[in-house]
């Protein structure tokens, strides 16, 4: 992108324009998708808990509900408790938001369509995402409240532990790719969906799920939202926050959810590749501009899909206790990810020696097994997912006739829901 700009504007003005333009676009995307996620969260939770969620604001589906919430939050009193450490209390929300935003800088939305293409993009994103936790801990400590302090302590313990299996699961596809450059990693997965790294071998298949669990935990989403735990700690680290500062924490949380889902989709699910075409769109007749527009759409949809799964999990599973959270990480996820790391190294060593050459029967068998796993697991997973979605689609709704959660048309008259 910068090359195109520098052709028009010369070297330095192009850099300025690119710098501020990219930051502006990314910030806008992050905040707008957070607005969308808040609405989606309400609708999904309503659906799962057999209620409607917002229906009125903005006409259909309550789609303007988040804006109304935002206006309400901006009008709220910005209160700071007298006991609080004012400096830390004010600093914390910005730190959390900055950590999340920095992750977007290295996120490739399309082929070479990235604010700053880094050779070590994966490592950079992990680093800045793990610095987001510092804002939460600052908030927990600086609020001068015991509920916040407990939230902060839990968050610190949880994030420091879950960082380890998360990083190890990231290394699994990196070993196959041989690079930390996200752009290259995604480009290696182009073509049909069986080229995605999740279907590469059994270890990457498990690594995807372990990474997603750790990512959910690092975004402090239920069932790992021990830092908030509203049934025990009032609201955890943001108990004392209101108004705009509270809003910033939630922007950071939803931004981090998208960032983690986007890393997962880049590393394992083919990133901006549709998986249904043999070619990569920006390299076809569509050209780098129009092809990349479709790529960006696919990438954002995959990221949103990951966020949707996180919401689904949140409203389905109950919250764990803190000792259970630590046990899941240290006793299960950590050994599993160690095994995955060794396993993928062995698989790579063995699979590179395998060939279809008939003079080497062992290599032939290994190659057949690897190919069978790749196509078999891909076909099975995609087939099961499609079957499940179709089955869900055909399941009749339990709601009374004329009332559906997603497509409610007119405001409900009082008492309408009761008279089934």
């Amino acid at each position: 992108m910068k090359d195109v700009l520098s052709r028009w504007l010369g070297e330095t003005p192009a850099e300025y324009v690119w710098m501020f333009g990219a930051a502006f676009i990314l910030m806008g995307f992050m905040l707008v998708s957070a607005i969308f996620f808040v609405w989606l969260e309400r609708k999904v939770s309503g659906r799962i808990q057999d209620r409607l969620g917002p229906t009125r604001v903005g006409g259909k589906f309550g789609w303007l509900q988040t804006l109304a919430d935002g206006v309400k939050l901006l009008c709220k009193e910005d209160s700071i408790p007298g006991n609080a450490d004012h400096f830390l209390f004010r600093l914390a929300p910005y730190l959390a938001l900055c950590g999340t935003f920095a992750a977007f800088l290295a996120l490739p939305f399309g082929n070479h369509f990235v604010a700053k293409e880094l050779n070590i993009a994966v490592f950079f994103m992990l680093a800045v995402l793990s610095s987001e936790v510092f804002g939460v801990i600052m908030a927990g400590y600086g609020s001068g409240s015991k509920w916040s302090l407990f939230g902060g302590i839990r968050e610190a313990a949880q994030v420091v532990s879950y960082e380890v299996p998360r990083a190890m699961c990231v290394i699994v596809p990196v070993i196959i790719a041989g690079t930390l450059n996200l752009n290259t990693i995604v480009n290696q997965q182009k073509g049909f969906f069986w080229n995605w790294y999740i279907f590469h071998d059994p270890f990457t298949f498990v690594a995807f799920w372990v990474f997603f669990i750790c990512g959910t935990s690092s975004c402090k989403r239920a069932p790992f939202d021990l830092a908030e735990a509203e049934s025990e700690l009032v609201a955890g680290f943001h108990t004392e926050y209101s108004g705009f500062r509270w809003l910033l924490f939630f922007m950071a949380e939803y931004g981090a959810m998208f960032a983690v889902s986007a890393i997962a989709s880049s590393l394992f699910l083919g990133g901006w590749n549709t998986g249904l075409l043999p070619v990569e769109l920006s390299e076809t007749f569509l050209g780098p501009i129009f092809g990349n527009l479709i790529n960006i759409g696919v990438f954002i949809l995959k990221g949103w899909g990951g966020v949707f799964v996180m919401m689904w999990v949140r409203w389905t599973l109950p919250r764990l206790r803190i000792d259970q959270v630590m046990m899941v990480c240290l006793k299960y996820l950590l050994p599993i990810s160690c095994v995955l790391l060794i396993g993928v190294c062995v698989w790579e060593l063995v699979a590179t020696s395998a060939s279809w050459n008939t003079s080497n029967p062992v290599g032939m068998v290994i190659a057949i097994v690897a190919a069978a796993w790749q196509y078999g697991s891909a076909a099975l997973t995609i087939g099961l997912s499609v079957w499940y979605v179709l089955k869900m689609w055909r399941t009749p709704s339990l709601a009374p006739p004329g009332v559906t959660g997603w497509a409610h048309k007119a405001p409900i008259a009082p008492g309408e829901l009761v008279k089934t």
Partner: protein, 203 residues
């Protein structure tokens, strides 16, 4: 002023000023917050110099790990709501002396060293091969220094060939790994659940 210079001065001022604030601040968690800016500013300087790996490692090790542990430790051990450090006059004197000594050493080293003034080969972070070279050198595939002693120190040109090792960072890397393993085992030993002594034993 180019963009690079502007960004350099911003990052350098951020690093320096917040480093002073770390020393001046009495409250330990506030000091940690200022230290965050120092470390982030240093990471920013690394990013400006196109050594992204070092910058990201700085962030993940110090900001994501060490600082979080500092604040975590304070939160777990603090008696009152906010912990203040009281520094005596004697401590000030010694720390100022130590600081001046360290600064003199570093400044002398920076002054004496003949810096390689040639332009860096690749400024573009996306295409630089720094990280691949570091990885190769750490695992011993690529030679880190064409000719060097096993300690990694440069050797004099005239020394006998027997003392020359074509070496990588594999040995230092392994030593550091073993050291970390020892630390981990020690931490696990200290943090283990203590067994009760046998009944009747005097405390």
């Amino acid at each position: 002023m180019t963009l690079f210079e502007i960004l350099f001065w911003i990052a350098a001022a951020l690093t320096g000023l917040s480093a002073i604030m770390v020393v001046v601040t009495q409250n330990i968690v506030r000091a940690a917050a200022w230290l965050l800016f120092t470390l982030a500013g240093t990471a920013g300087l690394y990013f400006l110099l196109a050594s992204d790996f070092v910058g990201a490692a700085q962030l993940i090790v110090y900001v994501g790990g060490t600082l979080v542990l500092v604040v975590f430790g304070v939160m777990l051990t603090a008696q009152g709501p906010f912990v203040n450090l009281r520094t005596g006059a004697g401590e000030w004197v010694f720390s100022v002396l130590a600081g001046i000594a360290l600064y003199a050493t570093l400044a002398t080293a920076a002054w004496v060293t003949a810096w390689d003034k040639s332009e860096p080969q690749e400024q573009d972070a996306a295409r630089s091969s720094n990280i691949a070279q570091i990885g190769m050198a750490l695992t011993g595939i690529r030679e880190a220094t064409p000719e060097g002693s096993i300690t990694g120190m440069p050797i004099k040109p005239g020394s006998p060939p027997r003392s020359r090792w074509r070496t990588a960072y594999l040995l230092p890397f392994e030593i550091v790994s073993v050291h970390l393993l020892v630390v981990l085992i020690g931490a696990a030993y200290l943090a283990r659940a203590k067994r009760r002594k046998a009944e009747g034993a005097t405390p």
